[in-house]
Amino acid sequence: MIAAIAGIVSAAALGLGSLLLLSGALGLLRFPDFYTRVHASGITDTLATGLIVAGLMPHAGWSQDLTKLILILVFIVFVSPTAVQVLVKSALHGGLVPVTRKSS
């Protein structure tokens, strides 16, 4: 019973994560400007990767692998948004001007 629920939750998390990754990749390709692209891929990638790692957790069971997965999840949640922030800050510092309605 618990195993069935865990299986369904895991499948849902993995599926949702894959869909979000796809949408992030679509945003990366279709958005007009660096800042919008980084926003699209960075935010969806964090959530999607987190969901995929969380979806793998029921399969690992109560073992050392679960600890490693939890650590990976925490690390990704910390680092991925920071990387996006640093990218955007350095692009602003370098002088890249965001596309606005006036300029496009």
Partner: protein, 313 residues
């Protein structure tokens, strides 16, 4: 990977070329994971995607940003084509890639895979081959890493003048990287130690551990300033440690000889052969990790000091 390599060769903007090198390193690491060579993927990811592009960017900051137009020379093109053709011709005699008939797969690989657990007692065959069966090759690799460090120092030895009035530029004023960095640097250092000592049971070993350790300290230097890192980590000590790692490796090898075995024969390091192998592999990997971490840090310090001196000296 072929597309990335062609792009690196043809792109004019050197900064883009460095980023493409990082992408190439990432593709290589994924390729290695697909081939089940996780140890190598680990090392490639930490060195080829992190440290090498970093040093390249420092070099770009010291030189120019765009590739100068090179004159097309038919003579050199012909020479390179002839050399490439000769190399291809030479590989025709070798067994096909991954073929089960190759001597490597019929004689040496089965022997290592079958005997590794009984002879060395550690589960990770990659580490037992690297550190025990082929320890001589690994000694050569560590010496090459050390020689590279010495070479960089010979070019860029940080003199006393470069540290006095260079200031302490850092990213301290940017809140988000600073806080996240403060939270992450201790776990990264612990992870490096985990990778170092757990290399016998899982993927890891001295090479990736050294690279990860050095990258944590480099992140510290970028967030809090080069002078701050120098106060934490003594430059003299790093130079001594770089040599000490190679020395440890060689000493373990000679100790085997002193008790009657061959060079790098760990069986004679302890009363029982398996314990000796265990001890030998542990010490040897430790030597590798120490040298790799120190050399990476030395290279970073040399490049960063030189850049600092060029900007403020």
């Amino acid at each position: 990977m072929l597309v990335t390599a062609l792009a690196i060769a043809s792109v004019r903007d050197l900064f883009a070329a460095v980023m493409l090198m990082g992408i190439y390193g990432l593709l290589s690491a994924s390729f290695f994971v697909l081939m089940d060579a996780v140890d190598v993927a680990f090392t490639e990811a930490s060195v080829g995607v992190g440290l090498v592009p970093l040093l390249m960017i420092y070099t770009l900051g010291m030189t120019r940003d765009v590739n100068r137009e090179a004159k097309a020379s038919p003579g050199s093109l012909a020479l390179v084509s002839i050399a490439a053709a000769l190399l291809f011709f030479g590989t025709l005699d070798m067994p096909a890639f991954g073929s089960a008939d190759a001597p490597a797969h019929r004689h040496t690989a089965p022997r290592y895979l079958d005997e590794s657990m009984t002879e060395t007692g550690i589960p990770n065959v990659v580490t037992s081959v690297l550190a025990s069966y082929r320890a001589y090759d690994t000694l050569g690799e560590v010496t090459v890493v050390f020689a590279a460090g010495v070479g960089v120092l010979a070019l860029f030895f940080p003199g006393a003048s470069s540290t006095l009035d260079a200031g302490n530029p850092s990213l301290r004023q940017y809140t988000v990287p600073r806080i996240i960095g403060k939270i992450l640097i201790p776990p990264i250092l612990i992870f490096a130690l985990y990778v170092q000592f757990h290399g016998e049971y899982g993927p890891g070993g001295g090479f990736p551990a050294g690279a990860i350790f050095a990258s944590a300290l480099i992140m510290y230097a970028m967030l809090f300033g080069l002078q701050t890192l120098k106060r934490v980590v003594n430059h003299e000590l790093i130079r001594v440690l770089a040599a000490a790692g190679v020395l440890l490796f060689g000493t373990v090898g000679v100790l085997g000889m002193a008790s009657g075995g061959n060079f790098l024969d760990y069986d004679y390091l302890a009363a029982d052969a398996k314990t000796g192998q265990h001890a030998g592999i542990l010490l040897v990997e430790l030597g590798v990790g120490i040298t790799v971490a120190s050399v990476m840090l030395l290279q970073f310090l040399a490049f960063a000091d030189r850049k600092n001196a060029m900007e403020n000296g």
